[in-house]
């Protein structure tokens, strides 16, 4: 573990040096596996936030109050610790840097899209990506300044943003971002991913072009 940072009260950003690592694709994840003295193990998957060109692998973990792994990562881990990780994993929810894409995130579901934006920036292809993030408040969204600098639309459900009142994602929020030919990626909690994908289907986005990554209460 090289760097530990807490960008928001409920998240921890971990930057790891991974020996002999294989470059990931934007959107892939790593499994973090913890082992207790008596051999008891617990493991969870976390999306990578860094671009492949970053010498470190950056994970962003949301601290869940009853999360066995996330509380350990948020409260105990320090620079210098060794963690067992496995990755990169997942070959479906990835952006390979070539096709136009609409990215729709709920809360910390933005993490794989941070990797996609950073990858696009490395490639000089930021124009391929359109990102919308729904968050309760701006203060709770990690990477908010970086995202907005790259043109992301940040929509807040518990506070007004400009002339937009507080409120959940709606079809009209998505319409200006969608273009035919885009691949669509949706990442967030179960209810967010379900609602966002149904909104997109309702707008006429072909279901076969939509990829979902959901995270549940999995600690």
């Amino acid at each position: 573990m090289r760097e530990v940072d807490r960008p928001t009260p409920r998240t921890v950003q971990l930057r790891l040096a991974v020996p002999d690592r294989v470059d990931h694709l934007a959107g892939q994840h790593y499994v973090v596996r913890l082992t207790a003295e008596d051999g008891y193990r617990a493991q969870r998957s976390y999306s990578v936030a860094s671009a492949p060109g970053d010498p470190l692998v950056e994970l962003l973990v949301e601290r869940l109050d009853d999360g066995e792994v996330s509380t350990f990562l948020a409260d105990v881990v320090e620079p210098g610790d060794e963690l067992e990780v496995r990755g990169p994993l997942g070959g479906f929810f990835v952006w390979e840097g070539e096709r136009p894409a609409l990215l729709v995130a709920g809360g910390t579901g933005v993490v794989p899209f941070v990797s996609m934006l950073r990858t696009a920036r490395e490639l000089g292809r930021l124009e391929l990506l359109r990102l919308l993030v729904s968050t309760r408040t701006r203060a709770e969204l990690p990477y908010v300044a970086e995202l907005e600098a790259d043109g992301a639309v940040v929509l807040t459900t518990r506070e007004a943003t400009g002339i937009r009142p507080a409120g959940r994602l709606t079809g009209p929020d998505l319409v200006p971002l969608w273009e035919p030919g885009q691949d669509v990626y949706v990442c967030g909690s179960d209810p967010f991913a379900e609602a966002a994908s149904q909104l997109l289907v309702g707008l006429g986005v072909p279901a076969a072009t939509i990829r979902l990554e959901r995270f549940g209460p999995s600690g």
């Binding site: 082992t35 207790a36 003295e37 617990a42 998957s45 350990f72 149904q198």
Partner: protein
């Protein structure tokens, strides 16, 4: 295998023997994990087909499937994302009943399950026979909820749950194994939770 992680105690000192390695008890939660938008399928338009290496390719519509002998599963399910859920109750029809009608040929060794969405998953034939796999439309005595694969999903509870294809509509018997959707994306071809076969190479 790495040594202990500094400072990690873990939550449970008494390990529930029903939990395969690396799994935790999700309690009353039933997380939804699906890579595609949830389709809307009405029972009237649903059917299940068994084809491929069979002597009698057969399709059952909703009513025909319900006319087959009812079969239930009561027990645990395990998702590769590390949650397990104890004491579930599903009802539908045993895959054995479907295969009895379609009659697999001697060359049939594997099955590809296909969903209405195009999702696929591959299984050894031996894992869906002998009373270990079902096509189910009931959960806890009510209709199977759509987000959990309703109206009808495959149920192979002794394997990780991605093998239990939601919105299943076709079982194709194959001579040679072919990777399905997650299996092409790095997940295991068999997926036994007790052997922790999560990823290719496990």
């Amino acid at each position: 295998m790495a040594g202990p992680t500094r400072g990690f105690l873990g939550r449970r000192r008494e390990r529930d023997p029903r939990l395969p390695p690396g799994q935790y008890d999700a309690g009353t939660d039933w997380p939804v994990l699906t890579a595609e938008p949830t389709p809307r399928i009405s029972p009237e338009t649903w059917s299940i087909t068994v084809d491929g290496r069979v002597e009698q390719p057969t399709t059952w519509n909703w009513d025909e499937a319900h006319a087959l002998p009812r079969s239930e599963y009561r027990g645990d399910i395990h998702c590769v994302t590390t949650w397990s859920k104890f004491g579930t109750w599903f009802a539908g029809v045993s895959v054995d009943s479907l295969l009895e009608a379609a009659r697999p040929t001697a060359e049939a060794h594997f099955v590809m399950a296909t969903s209405k969405t195009g999702y696929t998953t591959n299984l050894p034939l031996a894992d869906v026979t002998g009373g270990r796999a079902w096509v189910v439309w009931e959960y806890e005595g009510g209709p199977l909820p759509i987000e959990h694969g309703g109206p009808v999903r495959l149920l192979v509870p002794h394997l990780y749950f991605w093998k239990s294809a939601k919105w299943v509509t076709r079982l194709t018997l194959m001579h040679r194994d072919q990777p399905g959707f997650w299996e092409q994306n790095g997940y295991h071809d068999r997926g036994d939770p007790w052997l922790e076969q999560r990823y290719q190479g496990d």
